[in-house]
Structures are given as structure tokens and as C-alpha cells.
């Protein structure tokens, strides 16, 4: 029996405001993506129903940090 995926859409404008729905998983198109640069390594998974995103999760792994450059001035 196909797993049922619960969807809860409360987004503003995207994809569209809709009440919570149940979708049969076999009807959903699942895609995965990845971004790897000097700032982050990010992966995401999207599920689409009739071309429209109904579920999307992401994992951002930060690489870039913030730096305070400590300076001790010389006496002249």
C-alpha cells in the first residue's frame, strides 16, 4: 500500500495557499538538488504534484564565518 504523505500548505503566494491535503506518494515527483560553494554546502528535496511544489526541505551546512580582525597598534 502506497505511503500517504501529509501536506500542509500555509505559504504566502507560493506555491498557492491551499488547505492541508493528503497525497498518495506515488503521485508525487521527487527531485533532489545540491549547492556547494565557498559559503555553504546545501542539499534540498522537493516533491511536486502536477508540477507544483507541495513539499520542500533543505539542509544548509555553513562554511563561511565572520571574523573580527584584532589589531594591537604600535606606539611610535
Amino acid at each position: 500500500m502506497a505511503e500517504i504523505v501529509t501536506q500542509k500548505l500555509i505559504r504566502n503566494g507560493w506555491p498557492q495557499d491551499e488547505p492541508p491535503q493528503m497525497h498518495e506518494e506515488s503521485l508525487l515527483e521527487k527531485t533532489e538538488g545540491e549547492l556547494d560553494d565557498e559559503v555553504e554546502h546545501t542539499t534540498w528535496t522537493e516533491w511536486r504534484l502536477d508540477g507544483k511544489i507541495v513539499k520542500r526541505g533543505a539542509h544548509v551546512r555553513l562554511k563561511k564565518n565572520v571574523l573580527a580582525d584584532g589589531i594591537a597598534a604600535m606606539f611610535r
Binding site: 501536506q7 500555509i10 544548509v60 551546512r61
Partner: protein, 156 residues
């Protein structure tokens, strides 16, 4: 309007004033700080303008408190005290943070760290990443390796 990765300038001043405790310092010998502060992390929309001029946490541009997001964000795990590699001091949260079954109120690309123990919830830093929109799923933010090269907050 954009978010810019930065260590907040006001925070740098506050470091010199001894206003933040990322770790307890009972055996430090400089000043006894037996209780470290609680640092939180909050998510901000791509339309926000968070940057080095920020001084305190506020909800301007933060994700709305809907879809399993609570404004103010989450406490950062902090079991590893600041330390140093050679001449660079560094601190990194000791674990990831996850917003479970999140539906974001819009696309977001920044996380702000602030001191929730401080009276004014003073802001520490802004960290940017690629724009993300989350729908009915988890969003996890994993911290960089805690060392003098990649630690999340460094003083060189």
C-alpha cells in the same frame, strides 16, 4: 534591501566591555563568569536588511510566526567553550539546529545570532546562505567545523 554576512560592530565593542559570555570562566583567572549566556538563532527573509550595523534582535524581516516557526528562533547548542588555534580565537555552536515540519512565510537567506540573556538581546552576527523556501518539511542549519579557520565566530 539585502542581508549581509557580518559580525555586528556593536558586538565588537561589547566584547571589549566584557558584555558576552560564550563560555563559563570559573578557572579563567581574569574574571569569574560562572554562567554562560544563552545565544539564539533566528531566520530572516530575503527582503530583510540585516548587516553589521544591527545592534539588537528584533522581528523586522524575520519569518512570521506561522508554519511551525516561532519568532525569536531557537537556542543554539553551546557545550564547547571558546578556544584558540594558534593566534585565532574561535567559537562555534556545538550542534545543528532544525526547524521541524516548517512552512516558511517566504524565502529566507539569513540567520541572525543574538544574546538572549542580555537585557536588550544584543545581536552578535549575521550569516547568509542561498535563498530557501521550506514547505511542510524540515530545515536544518549545520555549523562549520570549529577551528581557527572555519569556526563560526573568529577573532584573529
Amino acid at each position: 534591501m539585502a542581508n549581509t554576512q557580518a559580525m555586528c560592530t556593536a558586538f565588537k565593542v561589547q566584547i571589549l566591555n566584557g558584555s558576552h559570555a560564550f563560555g563559563a570562566q570559573a578557572a579563567n583567572g581574569v574574571r569569574t563568569v560562572t554562567t554562560k549566556d544563552d545565544f539564539y538563532i533566528a531566520l530572516y527573509l530575503v527582503t530583510a536588511t540585516r548587516n553589521a550595523t544591527d545592534t539588537v534582535y528584533n522581528t523586522t524581516g524575520e519569518l512570521a510566526g506561522t508554519g511551525n516557526y516561532t519568532q525569536g528562533g531557537q537556542i543554539l547548542p553551546n557545550t564547547v567553550a571558546p578556544t584558540n588555534d594558534s593566534t585565532t580565537a574561535h567559537w562555534t555552536p556545538s550542534g545543528s539546529v532544525t526547524w521541524t515540519n516548517l512552512t516558511s512565510s517566504g524565502a529566507f537567506d539569513a540567520a541572525v545570532i543574538y544574546n538572549n540573556t542580555a537585557t536588550n538581546k544584543n545581536e552578535v552576527s549575521v550569516h547568509t546562505f542561498s535563498s530557501q523556501s521550506i514547505t511542510s518539511a524540515d530545515f536544518t542549519l549545520t555549523m562549520p567545523t570549529n577551528n581557527g579557520t572555519t569556526g563560526l565566530i573568529r577573532v584573529a
